[in-house]
């Protein structure tokens, strides 16, 4: 196959792909160098999944709406998931690269591998592609849009990399002020690791210098009604000797909700948004009439 890409510069191809992604609904897009993932665990770098990988193309978008953030019902965002839309777009960009330019393009699956690790960290890819910077709360935040979902594809197509942002988005100026005055930030105050939450850290000279994150506890909140919640409920059911109590567990609202959530979802679910709800990055976009 003669790849049309051979007659085009890498800059032009990148421009076409960025335009394609924007037309498909991406709020941001960028390119990471496939060889820049040295800080990722072994076995979880682009070249481990696709030999000869040169670039990682990242698209971001599919944000919750302003009204989703506004709703006083936590179970509303717990139940909504929009990440599948950005994954669909990532897949379309991958098809575009293979069909139009004749290079391999491997979409990083949204799920996890056998050891429950991400195949490649999409968050790290988004950071290396300059789409945003990793926040003290975990998600990669974009300066203009705040929290969003990302999708990444690994390709043998060489593209100019954007590289990470020089000036991180988190902590936001308002958070630096709050840290200096009260020793906390909105996200850390929402879910403090020393008071039964998941997040801790330190800010010095306007930069994150330390982080602490209770991943296991965050799982109970972000996947309350998903696979981990189901495994807990199943365990409780199997351990219960009393027939009547067992029926109560099986038909309980919690167990039912877990099944509902699992069977209606083909995407990874993030069921807790409380640290992001209070984040000031791109806040004016949440304030509508």
């Amino acid at each position: 196959m003669t790849a049309p890409a051979e007659r085009m510069s890498a800059d032009n191809i990148k421009g076409e792909l960025l335009a394609f992604a924007a037309k498909g609904g991406a709020l941001v897009a960028g390119v990471a160098d496939a060889n820049a993932f040295g800080a990722a665990p072994e076995g979880h770098r682009p070249g481990d999944l696709l030999p000869g990988a040169k670039s990682v193309f990242v698209v971001g978008g599919a944000q919750p709406r302003a009204a989703d953030w506004k709703s006083p019902h936590a179970s509303f965002m717990e139940t909504s998931s929009t990440s599948d839309r950005i994954n669909a777009l990532g897949l379309r960009v991958a098809n575009q690269i293979e069909r139009n330019y004749g290079y391999y393009a491997l979409m990083v699956p949204a799920g996890v591998d056998r050891g429950r690790q991400p195949f490649v960290s999409v968050a790290f890819a988004a950071e290396l592609a300059g789409c945003g910077s990793k926040s003290i709360a975990g998600p990669v935040l974009n300066r203009d849009h705040g929290f969003m979902y990302y999708s990444a594809l690994i390709t043998t197509l060489p593209l100019p990399a954007d590289g990470p942002l020089e000036d991180p988005v988190c902590p936001a100026p308002a958070c630096v002020d709050m840290w200096d005055e009260h020793g906390t930030t909105p996200c850390l105050a929402t879910c403090p690791i020393d008071e039964g939450g998941c997040l801790g850290g330190c800010i010095k000279d306007g930069r994150i210098t330390e982080t602490r994150y209770d991943r296991a506890r965050c799982t109970t909140r972000a996947q309350t009604y998903w696979a981990p919640g189901f495994q807990q409920a199943l365990q409780a059911t199997l351990e219960e000797k009393d027939d009547a109590k067992r029926r109560m567990i099986i038909n309980s609202s919690g167990f039912t909700r877990t099944l509902w959530s699992m069977t209606y979802s083909n995407v990874s679910q993030g069921q807790c948004f409380e640290c992001m709800r209070v984040c000031p990055v791109a806040r004016p976009k949440h304030d509508l009439r």
Binding site: A74, P168, M178, P186, T190, R215, T220, T224, G254, E274
Partner: protein, 111 residues
């Protein structure tokens, strides 16, 4: 049973070490921190080498250990946490979340 699962005795013996080395609680984990400050988790293979186990056994111990780290009560607390935070924010905005810190900081300044 036809799928691999870890022997409960081996699990109990190594669970704490595996969870500590794989950082169930991550301290200075993010990739963007300077290398001399970062403490990323060890991979399953690295943990296996350190504990004299095979990688597959470590992976299973980690997966089961992560699930068992918090019991079902924590899932119930999780649902309450989300309801409480979301409602407090809807009713009072950021001050609903941060008021206690502001009060603490004020009290500390008075002392």
């Amino acid at each position: 049973m036809s799928f691999f699962f870890v022997d409960p005795e081996i699990y109990e013996k190594h669970k704490d070490d595996v969870l500590a080395l794989s950082q169930s609680i991550q301290v200075n984990y993010p990739e963007h921190l300077p290398p001399d400050q970062r403490s990323p988790a060890l991979s399953d293979r690295q943990i296996a080498e350190r504990l004299g186990l095979d990688e597959r056994t470590v992976r299973e111990i980690r997966c089961v250990g992560e699930r068992e780290y918090y019991d079902i009560e924590e899932y119930d607390r999780a649902a309450i946490f989300k309801e409480t935070q979301c409602r407090a924010y809807a009713e009072k905005g950021l001050s609903g979340i941060t008021a206690k810190y502001v009060e603490r900081a004020r009290a500390a300044k008075k002392d």
